[in-house]
């Protein structure tokens, strides 16, 4: 009888396509919005994940997220280095500056100042130029998206110059970096150069990157750093989630995306639920005839569920395919680069789709299950 259920489903092409479209649309809407939401949230802490050389971040104990850390006294570095279980520790500057380009335009930039001797925190992959060139005077490396933002439509070219705080900055390389939340260019230089690029202030360096000794539990080392120095010490993972948590709690982003995702679920459920319900109602007479001829309620329920699963499976597949195609087509667009179909979103949406179709099938089935087979004799 499963075969009959399938034939009943695909027999009316318009309704069948409508059902699959409803689920596909809901899947596309939910998967795309969840993936973009996850991607944007991940961007808020993308600089934390980009720095892979160090496991621990040390900062002022009132810091709430990565863009907010105040400067630290220079001797904090030595205090951290003195904590038991710390293998090494280096300074890191992260701040925001304004660049003046050769054509007179201004661009806000995210500026990283790396430890002069080790360059810990440097980008992992260069597109053009050598990382070691960062040791040249006034040298900076900018990320690829940032280059396209600063010099749109122009070919990659190192040796360009611009001004930071009226000081010359010389571009020596283009690197890959994850897009930050604000999509500003990410510029890397040495700490000694940073001191000329940012306005004079007592404490410039705002982070200390550290690594625990081999065999040490990073969380234990963080606790020891906090106890010894009064600073806040977080593992990379903790800092990542602290930053994301800040944005989740203090911005309207989750609410707005949540509304869109909920609308996707509701619209998808409404389209699919109503279409599937009407589809089942239109077949009520056929189901009544089958019941009269000796098909049991359990079998009828199985037939309706099978129809729902086919529609759901196909709709989900098409919807996820369209979502993947969307991200594939936007991966080279600078502002959308780095956003991708999140596998957890795909799984979550799969569960939501299963819930939608199961609910639709169950509601539709009630009509069939309570149907008196004698109805087939009533006109």
């Amino acid at each position: 009888m499963n075969w009959v259920a399938v034939r009943m489903l695909v027999g009316d092409t318009a309704k069948y396509v409508g059902l699959v479209f409803g689920i596909s649309f809901a899947t596309l809407l939910m998967a795309q919005q969840i993936s973009i939401f996850v991607g944007i949230m991940a961007r808020t802490a993308s600089q934390v994940t980009d720095i892979r050389d160090a496991s621990l971040w040390v900062m002022d104990n009132k810091t709430r997220f990565i863009d907010e850390a105040p400067g630290l006294p220079d001797n904090d570095l030595h205090r951290v280095r003195g904590v038991a279980g710390v293998a090494w520790a280096v300074h890191l500057y992260k701040g925001q500056v304004t660049a003046r380009l050769a054509d007179g335009n201004y661009r806000a930039l995210v500026l990283f100042g790396l430890d002069d001797s080790t360059l810990i925190g440097a980008p992992q992959e260069m597109v053009l130029g050598q990382l070691s060139d960062l040791r040249q005077p006034d040298a900076v490396v900018v990320d690829k998206a940032g280059y396209e933002y600063m010099w749109p439509g122009e070919p990659y070219h190192i040796g360009r110059e611009f001004q930071l705080n009226d000081r010359r900055a010389k571009l020596v390389g283009i690197c890959k970096a994850s897009a930050p939340f604000t999509t500003l260019p990410v510029v890397y230089t040495r700490l000694s150069t940073v001191r000329g690029f940012v306005p004079q202030q007592r404490h410039i360096v705002n982070y200390i990157l550290a690594e625990p000794d081999a065999g040490e539990d990073p969380v234990d080392v963080c606790r020891r750093i906090e106890e010894s120095t009064g600073l806040m010490a977080l593992t990379k993972r903790q800092f990542f989630w602290k930053t994301i948590g800040y944005f989740l709690q203090t911005t309207g982003i989750p609410v707005n995306f949540g509304i869109t995702i909920a609308l996707g679920f509701i619209v998808g459920a409404a389209i699919t639920g109503q279409t599937f319900y009407l589809f089942t109602l239109e077949n009520l007479k056929q189901f009544g005839a089958l019941k009269a001829m000796g098909v049991t309620n359990v079998r009828i329920l199985g037939m309706v569920l099978l129809q729902a699963l086919i529609v759901g499976g196909l709709g989900y597949g098409v919807g996820i395919g369209l979502t993947a195609a969307f991200f594939e087509s936007t991966k080279n667009i600078t502002h959308l680069a780095g956003l991708y179909l999140n596998p957890y979103a795909a799984i979550g949406v799969g569960v939501a789709v299963l819930a939608i179709i199961s609910l639709s099938a169950l509601i539709a089935s009630i009509k069939v299950l309570v149907l008196e087979p004698a109805v087939v004799f009533r006109g």
């Binding site: 007479k285 001829m293 000796g294 098909v295």
Partner: protein, 266 residues
């Protein structure tokens, strides 16, 4: 059941005793059947006739095991339907009863052969074997060349013959038909009735037909007139079945070939 009644019921395929059926809608109660007693023997084509609302459809629904009577007992093929529980009743219907509906109730997505194969699929026969058997059945009923057509590609008469093929494919002992000629023109109606008469006589089946259509009265061995939930009149036809061609049940083109007269029983 006493010994005499048991003996009587064994001669009949269908026995109804004191059948009452009441429907309730809110506070309104409607008595659709009021103490029906009747017996139907195999090999008989029985017509249930009467005005709308007289209880014909309710009565065949009770006989087919689709409705439970409020009172009384229905024995079909020696089994009391009122004592059968849900699953057993469903199996009983699947095994012993064939249905022909007024609006055919063919599945529009299936071909004629696939539609006719449905009862065998319900019984668990493999699909290819079931469809092959259905094709043979349709050929017997004169639908060769139409087996792969969808219902919307067939005329009303052809659709009803597919429905009859579906009703007969699993060799049921009882065939229950609801207004099988209501949606058909005179020629198609006559063909369908000849077919059903043949089905009753040749295979010693009980064929019960609910009808409004006076044109089909000539085909019934017996005509039970219902009025207001009671049997008003029970008549028997004396007629010549020689017009039914032997070995070929494909209907002839003659719409009125069954010469017959009606006599009243008792």
């Amino acid at each position: 059941m006493n010994a005499v009644a048991q003996l009587n019921s064994s001669r009949f395929s269908v026995s109804c005793r004191g059948i009452t059926k009441e429907f309730s809608t809110g506070d309104t109660k409607t008595l659709a059947l009021r103490g029906i007693d009747m017996d139907i023997a195999p090999g008989e084509l029985t017509l249930l006739a009467g005005p709308s609302g007289c209880g014909k459809t309710t009565l065949i629904s009770v006989i087919a095991g689709l409705l439970k009577p409020t009172q009384g007992d229905v024995t079909v093929l020696g089994s009391s339907l009122i004592h059968m529980r849900g699953g057993a009743l469903v199996r009983f219907r699947a095994q012993h009863i064939g249905f022909v509906f007024q609006q055919y109730n063919l599945l529009p997505a299936l071909t004629a052969a696939e539609n006719a194969a449905v009862p065998l699929l319900i019984a668990g026969r493999p699909r290819h074997a079931a469809i092959a058997a259905a094709r043979r059945q349709l050929e017997i009923l004169g639908l060769e060349g139409r087996t792969e057509f969808r219902p919307n590609q067939l005329s009303g008469g052809q659709q009803q013959r597919v429905a009859i093929a579906r009703a007969l494919i699993h060799h049921p002992s009882i065939l229950v038909c609801d207004e099988p000629t209501a949606a058909l023109d005179a020629v198609s109606g006559s063909q369908v009735m000849q077919l059903l008469t043949h089905v009753a006589i040749e295979a010693e089946r009980v064929v019960i037909i609910v009808t409004h259509d006076h044109r089909v009265f000539q085909y019934g061995h017996r005509i039970i007139h219902l009025a207001d939930g009671r049997i008003e009149k029970d008549e028997r036809n004396e007629w010549d079945a020689s017009h039914l061609s032997q070995g070929n049940v494909a209907p002839s083109s003659s719409p009125n070939s069954a010469g017959c007269s009606i006599r009243k029983v008792d």
